[in-house]
């Protein structure tokens, strides 16, 4: 039975389930660096998934699906930014509002546009292309795991690297981090901190749009109610777990993706999957605890050393 669970397709599924977490995680860590904790990612992904289907279905093009998902992501990013940056509203209230708005709107539109309840699936929805890497199909194991995935799997990996370079190797990334750490300091050297915050929240909308489009157009071509299924929050967990670093967040997203994939396979063979599903959430709480505890210990140690000198 274990063979049914732990096999190559588990790893293949890991890659696939981790992708929306990676994409949303990258978006969320950009807002995190700019000083905004975005819990609206859940809703942003959901909207992306829905409008991905809408675009793909009506224009008979998966590219248009992605475009529409991104446009909606930008709009929500601007709205989030406007309330949090301009009106200085509580970021977590706005996040919750966006989640509820997304949940309501997508179901509402599902009924009024497609006239269905629960889920919409149709041959008219064009799925995103799969990418076959030329030389990889010669290598048996790696081929199964890494090849023939939907296009956003590969895009997300590229984005991890690009985000890392952007944040730490370019002045713009520096400004985003500065806008989060001490916006006034950035203002006084002539860079608009607000603008950097807007850029990050719009980027988050775009990335969540990608994540949503991947969900609804990547492998299955359908939209179901609440199909984001907490992925926004798991992405948040990955960000926290990865200390807002793109590479570490990527690793955390892969890890959480693995547990997600494992859960699905356990269910198939009739083993309770709830505990594996719990792991990302529990791990986040545990890691926060460990970090806080370590921080306190360090402070105590410094005091002791100083006390010894005096």
């Amino acid at each position: 039975m274990l063979g049914q669970v732990f096999n190559l397709s588990l790893l293949q599924n890991t890659i696939r389930t981790a992708t929306p977490l990676i994409l949303a995680g990258l978006g969320g860590l950009l807002t995190m660096h700019a000083g905004m904790l975005n819990i609206g990612m859940e809703g942003m992904i959901l909207l992306g998934a829905f409008f991905g289907v809408v675009g793909s279905y009506f224009f008979a093009s998966s590219f248009m699906g992605v475009v529409l998902a991104v446009v909606v992501g930008i709009i929500i990013g601007v709205i989030y930014g406007f309330f949090v940056i301009e009106l200085k509203s509580d970021e977590f209230i706005i996040g919750i509002a966006i989640n509820i708005f997304a949940g309501g709107l997508t179901i509402f539109l599902l009924r009024s546009i497609f006239g269905v309840k629960g889920a919409f699936s149709s041959p008219g929805i064009v799925s995103l292309p799969r990418i076959s890497i030329p030389l990889l199909d010669q290598i048996p194991v790696l081929n199964t795991i890494f090849n023939n995935h939907s296009v956003f799997v590969y895009i997300s990996w590229v984005l991890v690297v690009l985000t890392y370079i952007f944040l730490y190797k370019t002045p713009y990334g520096m400004w985003i981090r500065a806008a989060g750490e001490y916006p006034e300091a950035l203002e006084t050297v002539g860079v608009r901190a607000k603008r950097m915050k807007y850029i990050s929240s719009i980027a988050c909308g775009v990335f969540c749009g990608f994540a949503g489009a991947h969900l609804s157009l990547g492998y299955l071509t359908l939209f179901t109610e609440n199909m984001s299924a907490n992925r926004g929050f798991i992405a948040l967990a990955a960000i926290i777990f990865g200390a807002s670093n793109p590479i570490k967040t990527f690793a955390a997203a892969l890890l959480f993706g693995f547990f997600d994939a494992l859960g699905i396979r356990l269910q198939v063979v009739g083993i309770p999957s709830q505990f594996t599903q719990m792991i990302p959430y529990l791990m986040t709480v545990v890691i926060l605890f460990i970090v806080a505890k370590k921080h306190m210990m360090q402070k105590k140690k410094v005091q002791k050393e100083e006390g010894a000198i005096q």
């Binding site: 002045p171 981090r177 500065a178 300091a185 203002e187 006084t188 002539g190 402070k299 410094v302």
Partner: protein, 513 residues
Amino acid sequence: MGQDMIELKGVTKQFPGVLANDAIDLSIEEGEIHAIVGENGAGKSTLMKILYGLQQPDKGEIFFRGKAVKISNPSVAINMGIGMVHQHFMLLPSFTVAENIVLGIEPRKRSIFMDYKKAVEITQDLVRTYGLKVEPQLKVRDVSVGIQQRIEILKALHKGADILILDEPTAVLTPQETEELFVVIRKLVKELNKTVIIITHKLQEVMALSHRVSVMRQGKLIGTLETKDASEQIIAEMMVGREVLLEPLEKTTVEGKTILEVNHLKSRDNRGLLALRGVNLHVKEGEILGIAGVEGNGQSELVEALTGLREIESGEVMVFSKNLAGKSPREIRESGIAHVPEDRLITGLSKDATITENMMMGLHDQEPYAKKGIHTNKQTIRQRVETLIKKFDVRTPSQDVLVENLSGGNMQKIVIAREFAFDTPILIISQPTRGVDIGAIEFIHQQIVEKRNEGCAILLISAELDELFRLSDRIITVYEGELTGTFNNGEISKKEIGLYMTGKRKLSKEGGA
């Protein structure tokens, strides 16, 4: 001096409820050190923010080298060659020194990447040119306040500043660091032909450093003088309006016994560093003991340790021969210490609550204000608050007004009324008149002396030496968490006490009681 670099004409800035700048005319000449002085809230900082493009004037014109300009944001100011060192440093603690210095005009590789190596080189070049030593690769959070100020100055110079605005640059510096800063400023002006505007409220610094001085009061520019023609007295009078005639305070002698005694008190600041290194002091009934010191030398920590708000590492706090060290704020209050904290908005009040709610703090579960300690008795509370509002002359339409709608002086009166009305044998009063108008200052001083005359033992902490000299019976000086001297009022001059405040002189430790 040279030509007019900058000229302000009729610059006006209105904030809700305050006219921060009222038709200001001011000219800054090339190559001068121009001091701008005034009390808190006189509008100095606002004026400089306008000059640096952080605020927009509602009215008025700015001329730069004779040409009318509109400084719509800091970039414009930077391009004109204006640099500013803010009172609260505008540095990113988790970034390196080099990154902070080049922030906004980063050297680039292939036009989009940050060239960090180059940034380090730039920093090293700056260090060589201006003789201000900094380590480019260190994180800003790991360097001292004095160094952070150097980084700020280098940052401004790197952006091509010809005019350097320094906002209260000495507020956070030790006397040595202040001296060093003055040397740097003089060098910048003399050798490198920079122009410096320095905002301050310390008159000695004005006299020591500036060529000209402009005095501001309540949003207006009162006048500009050649420093060599001015004296501290003249400037002080311009700052406050007319000669301030303070009514003499009537002190009656009370021969009392010691009721507060602090022995070998040690405590740490928020960063975990030792802020009190074994403090000894005692206060008698009917005595005001003043504590003098440059801010940040352990005064805040002392007050917090005595009132239970900060952990005590070792030592005793004896009140009526009972050790209160390690007790909770509540137990300490009940043992007879009331406390006017240094920052009313952070610690002393809740600005979102009504006057009544603020005044009932500490009484909220006491009879008769709460029946059985549970059910709030509105009636008795309202009566008490009404009495206190009258007695302490709090100007408010009703006791249901939210505190945030009151002026600084009235807020402070609420804190003082509440704490004084506990009628405790000991009062700890910190910065009683900070940011308070002159009328209220006088009233508060009288209330403090009245308490003393009733036999209360008072520990008074203030950054204003004048206040300490006016109120205290005895003054002790602190420097880096240690006592450096204790004097009866009248024994020592303000000038001399400065030496003890800066650790340049020390008396042997105050022994026991």
